[in-house]
């Protein structure tokens, strides 16, 4: 169990203790202020080199990470590897060895294969590895920024400073995660973060979109989505992963929307205080109605905005913390 991210890799949120997660959230809070300045830059990682290595397409996560690294004054090596290197016959080890040879302190990587970041961390133990999403496994910074956003919103409602509340606002918080849990690395990271912070998590999904062995997860599984909605303080809607062949797991998109979509009718029955989240990119009209996504209950753009300070915090702790811990 990792009790502080200082000098450590961020591969799997399940490895982080509650204190380690809170440390990231609190550190992110201190970086929010930087993002409001005219000159949005601090010298925390000046002279450090962060490689951004995306084997799988991504817009928002990549932009968010690179913005975060630049605001910390790191030099960013941005390498568009896509999945073509595999087609060219280059192994994961060769790709990372090539980039390592350029001299890097950290690598932010996304890969379509689960565990790829874990493997890379083994290949280059002297480089800090930040997992920006690996297959169906984990998307740790999304889990952190979702937790950060929730705490921020709940603290505002109470008129308190988020960092003064610790994990208190998660105590007994009822989070309902709905949709394609089976193919969602976001769901796996969200569950780890929320549960570690003390929330109660319920999953709602068609039987085919629940992960294998979900009974062993620290969550409950809702029998009926509509019933579960009535008990939720937070509804986390997941993207239906067409690109991962989800099509064969449900009879049709319209049936999925009918049984598990956050439609305007369902949203109307929610308590006014219910918070609606989505990690993006959205399939509007499939898992979430466009009007629901744009309603005041939804904090989706905040999630995107919070990506930068949270990723600044992760990079700062992991990369700068490395020197401190020596």
């Amino acid at each position: 169990m990792i009790t502080t991210l200082r000098g450590k890799n961020l591969l799997d949120l399940g490895e982080l203790s509650r204190e380690a997660i809170l440390e990231v959230l609190d550190t992110a809070d201190s970086f929010v202020e930087v993002n409001r300045r005219v000159v949005k830059k601090v010298p925390a990682l000046k002279g450090r080199v962060v490689a951004s290595l995306f084997f799988e397409e991504s817009t928002r996560t990549r932009l968010s990470f690179e913005t975060a690294a630049k605001r910390l004054s790191a030099d960013v090596l941005s390498l568009a590897v896509a999945s073509s290197s595999v087609k060219k016959g280059e192994s994961l080890r060769d790709t990372i060895a090539t980039i390592d040879a350029l001299g890097i302190d950290a690598v932010v990587m996304r890969h379509r294969s689960s565990g790829a970041a874990v493997q890379v961390a083994r290949y280059v133990p002297h480089v800090r590895v930040i997992n920006a999403g690996d297959g169906l496994h984990q998307h740790p910074t999304q889990g952190l920024l979702d937790a950060y956003t929730l705490r921020q919103v709940l603290a505002e409602r109470r008129g308190e400073r988020a960092r003064d509340t610790g994990a208190e606002l998660f105590d007994g918080l009822r989070v309902l995660i709905v949709g394609d849990v089976r193919h969602s690395r976001v769901a796996r990271s969200d569950v780890e973060a929320y549960v570690a912070l003390g929330a109660t998590v319920t999953l709602a999904a068609p039987g085919t979109l629940l992960p294998d062995g979900v009974r062993e997860w620290p969550v409950s599984v809702a029998g009926d989505f509509d019933d579960a909605l009535g008990d939720a303080d937070v509804v986390g809607v997941l993207r239906l992963q067409h690109e991962r062949g989800t099509g064969a797991f449900v009879p049709s998109l319209s049936e999925f929307t009918r049984t598990h979509g956050l439609t305007i009718e369902r949203a109307a029955r929610l308590s006014p205080s219910t918070i609606i989240m989505h990690p993006g990119p959205m399939n509007r009209g499939v898992e979430i109605d466009a009007r629901v996504a744009d309603s005041s209950a939804a904090v989706i753009t905040r999630q995107v905005a919070n990506g930068v300070p949270v990723r600044m915090a992760v990079l700062y702790l992991s990369v700068a913390g490395r020197e401190e811990s020596r």
């Binding site: 399940g14 080890r93 060769d94 493997q119 297959g135 294998d212």
Partner: protein, 436 residues
């Protein structure tokens, strides 16, 4: 004239273990007795503290020739076998191209004849292992092929398998099945279950194996033919085979050392060295396989020795090829599974006598160009023998293996028991992990 004297060992026969020396002359056992006189010029082999039994027979070796000679050849695979205590291997047909014609089978047999051990060949059941049209089973049988399999994949079509069984039965050959129902394992890379769900890896369920075992048992019942089940990995699969055997059906099964010495928890590392088909199963299944070995419910331990190029194991877990090396540590892992007080007769049943019976390599079998295996260490037998020290410790070093490949999941692991000497066709070919 080559002569050897194996001194001071415990001779492990099917029904007894006796202290005796063994004299080997010109490829045969000339004498077995206490304090025998060595023929002039005979090489002495010290077998004190060791078991002397029939050389091991591997039912499941991927020699990668033709097609992937950079990972293994018949020659390098035979060396790996020799240091592992094997005197015979059955080369699997999932080469490139597949061993589905007389020409291809003859090629591998010819390459095998140049090695120090006996290389038998398993032919493909269907042309190109595509699961559609039968390969020329009778022509290949005439070359001495006794096992046919599309290993690497199951024969998915029940009708094709039924037809193959009907065709094989009068030929006196045995079909061997890779039991994984293809539709249930598509995209899968580890055992299905809670751990795979947590790791985000698509699963290959135990159900895929068990359904295929059930189907083929019923096909055997309907056809009266025989089936050998390759690398069974679950408790339920073994139970199904035991029940079928009790009913008098001609079914046999093997298990692979990785399935009883490792379990799915190794996949937590995402190290592709732990990727294999069928996948490493739950700790409960691994323990059940050990118990099955100890009870005598398993006919053979077979390696599924599967060399791969090192760079292919540097890919992501779900992209890397499945399979791991086996020949050089299978016997050690078997002796560990049987336990410190394990019966050496059970050990030789699993590694030599059982597989020799299934591969039809015994003295009483009709063999083509191959010597006899799985015997009793008795006068007049072909001298395929192993001196196995069950107590010695050694550490697996992937850079010191005879195999061309390095994809062992046991690198750095200290194992108990190792072949001290391998005598194949009367010649000392390997000693203490080195070729002679």
């Amino acid at each position: 004239m080559t002569s050897l004297v194996i001194r001071g060992g415990s001779i492990v026969r099917s029904h007894e273990v006796v202290r005796a020396d063994v004299v080997v002359v010109d490829g045969r056992v000339l004498e077995v007795g206490e304090k025998v006189n060595a023929p002039a010029g005979a090489r002495e082999i010290d077998a004190s503290g060791a078991w002397v039994g029939p050389g091991f027979v591997d039912l499941h070796t991927h020699l990668r020739e033709p097609g992937l000679e950079a990972a293994e050849t018949v020659e390098s695979g035979a060396r790996a076998a020799a240091v592992g205590g094997y005197c015979a291997v059955v080369a699997m047909p999932n080469t490139e191209p597949a061993l589905d014609t007389v020409a291809l089978v003859s090629y591998v047999l010819a390459r095998g004849a140049l090695t120090g051990i006996d290389v038998a060949v398993a032919g493909a059941i269907t042309q190109g292992r595509r699961g559609e049209k039968l390969a020329p089973l009778a022509e290949m049988a005439a070359l001495g092929v006794r096992i046919f399999t599309d290993d690497g994949a199951a024969v998915a079509s029940a009708e094709v398998m039924r037809r193959a069984l009907s065709y094989a039965k009068p030929l006196g050959v045995r079909l061997a099945q890779h039991c994984e129902e293809p539709s249930l394992v598509e995209f899968g890379s580890m055992n299905e279950g809670a751990l795979a769900g947590r790791l985000g890896l698509v699963g290959r369920p135990a159900l895929a194996e068990e359904l295929m075992v059930v189907r083929d048992i019923e096909l055997v019942r309907a056809s009266g033919a025989s089936v050998h089940f390759l690398h069974l990995s679950t408790a339920r699969s073994i139970a199904l085979v035991v029940a079928a055997r009790r009913e008098g059906l001609d079914v046999t099964c093997e298990v692979a050392p990785h399935h009883f010495s490792l379990d799915e928890s190794a996949c937590r590392t995402y190290d592709p060295h732990y990727k294999v088909n069928p996948p490493l199963r739950s700790p409960g299944d691994a323990a059940a396989l050990v118990a099955a070995l100890q009870r005598g419910d398993v006919d053979a331990v077979a390696t599924d020795h599967a060399p791969h190029l090192p760079e292919s194991k540097d890919l992501a877990f779900d992209e890397a090829p499945a399979g791991m090396l086996g020949l050089e540590h299978a016997a050690s892992l078997t002796v560990e599974a049987l336990g410190a007080d394990g019966d050496p007769r059970a050990f030789f049943a699993l590694l030599s006598r059982g597989p020799a019976r299934i591969a039809q390599l015994r003295a009483s079998d009709v063999r083509v160009g191959l010597s006899a295996h799985g015997g009793e260490v008795a006068v007049g037998e072909d001298a395929n023998l192993v001196v196995f020290d069950p107590g010695v410790e050694w550490t697996v070093d992937r850079d010191r293996l005879q195999s061309r490949a390095t994809n062992t999941p046991y690198h750095g692991r200290t194992l108990h028991g190792r072949a001290r000497a391998t005598i194949a066709r009367g010649r000392l070919i390997a000693e203490n992990g080195e070729m002679c």
